[in-house]
Symmetry: C2
Subunit: 249 residues, 2 copies
Amino acid sequence: MAMSLISTAEDTSLRRQVYDSLREALTAGRFVPGQKLTFRFVAGALGVSLTPVREALRRLVAEGAFEMQPNRSVRVPLMTRAKILELRDIRIALEGLAAEKAAERASKRQIGRLRRIALEIATARSAGDSVTDRLKVREFHFALYAIADQPTLLRVIEGLWLQTGPYMNLLYPEFVSQPRGPETRARIIRALQSHDAVAARREIENDVRHALSYVADLADDSGNIAPASPMAAKRRRGGSKAAVPLELY
Amino acid sequence: MAMSLISTAEDTSLRRQVYDSLREALTAGRFVPGQKLTFRFVAGALGVSLTPVREALRRLVAEGAFEMQPNRSVRVPLMTRAKILELRDIRIALEGLAAEKAAERASKRQIGRLRRIALEIATARSAGDSVTDRLKVREFHFALYAIADQPTLLRVIEGLWLQTGPYMNLLYPEFVSQPRGPETRARIIRALQSHDAVAARREIENDVRHALSYVADLADDSGNIAPASPMAAKRRRGGSKAAVPLELY
DNA sequence: CAACGAATTTTGTGATCACAAATGAGGAGC
DNA sequence: GCTCCTCATTTGTGATCACAAAATTCGTTG
């Protein structure tokens, strides 16, 4: 006995796979804000029955990743400026807290991992690989928060990232044109090395504030975002079945 | 048209009713930490099929209100001291933020409502009505947070209260023996009147810190709480069906 | 008498079916 | 030409069924 130090028995249910697929599509920006999804459509696209889709989508709705009109289909939420600012302030509070705890506990090994990820970001960015860039930036943040070793906090933060996910694409031009990221990450790593919780919090707070303030400025108050691809609505008609990039692994 | 200023079309689905029932039972302390629940048992107790129960329980598990072994039944989480302290720090950050925003926006009418609830708490407490007392204390907090007018923040806070819910019973003796509550609430109300966001945050932070530090001190590190009713396990056997207080309205 | 193992029961999972409410298309009326 | 009504279709909801994995029971063995 005592053989499960690292969580064995991972969840292989269809529900989970559907949940992960939708979540991944959401964070990868594969859904347009405002886009509608029906249960049957998702079930068809993933080749499963309605049952696991319902449970997965229901959960996502509860987490705020999708929203649902009274008894109708779900859609990717349209964010107003106010809502983005709300998420910004919550994320500042929580990610600041996580950074603080991380700075108190960080081991050399953990700091090394952060440094490695920071390097990968730099590599991807100089190669113009925006996909890897965004992925690694996310990885850096969550590697940092994982150091805090606070499971509930981590889960809440994941929920918040899920909500901002579809909008974080918009950030990329800003990333490249005004690269404050590299220095920020260097300062964070230094803060962890010296176990300076206050500095770590400050750096994360500024980072989140900067990113989400920028996104908020792109939004008007009615749920529209500036460079929204205009071919969002008006699908589901015409000849081609409009193959949607949704895959179940 | 334009007739739904106040959210009409409330959710009447069975899923929602099951969810609310379980949630209410949880916050009312009607479940013992560690208690196990099977889907079929809940379905039977509430007189519905498995389908809505699954969706409701799944959501509660995702919210951390219940936990689930790999593929087995759900149970009310056993909290370790570390987990309570984690929840404490998250709640301090978020409820402090909400109090701050509330202080900035509070109207005379909203402050009046808070004052009325504070009075009802005092009445219930002097009458020794612990049930109403706890209910109204909760009402006071959420009335305060609702003033902040930040729907996402409110939802996250509700999720956190849900997790601490089964343990908040333990607080009641402390409430009565060391009544710091009335003065705290008076100070909060004064802070809202003068729109003093800093003071409002400080009061809420101290309140949450005090309450959850107290609960944490009752817990050892293995998930047991001091005055746990010992007849928690070992049910489900013997003659009587052990009528469980779970009702669907 | 304690520990192991096979048989039985329990329990979550996923698919399917029936149904009512909401949606959208098409036609009648002003 | 525009609005309103009606009917066919779409869509979420809840119940039921079949099934495999996990838990429990109980008999057997050392």
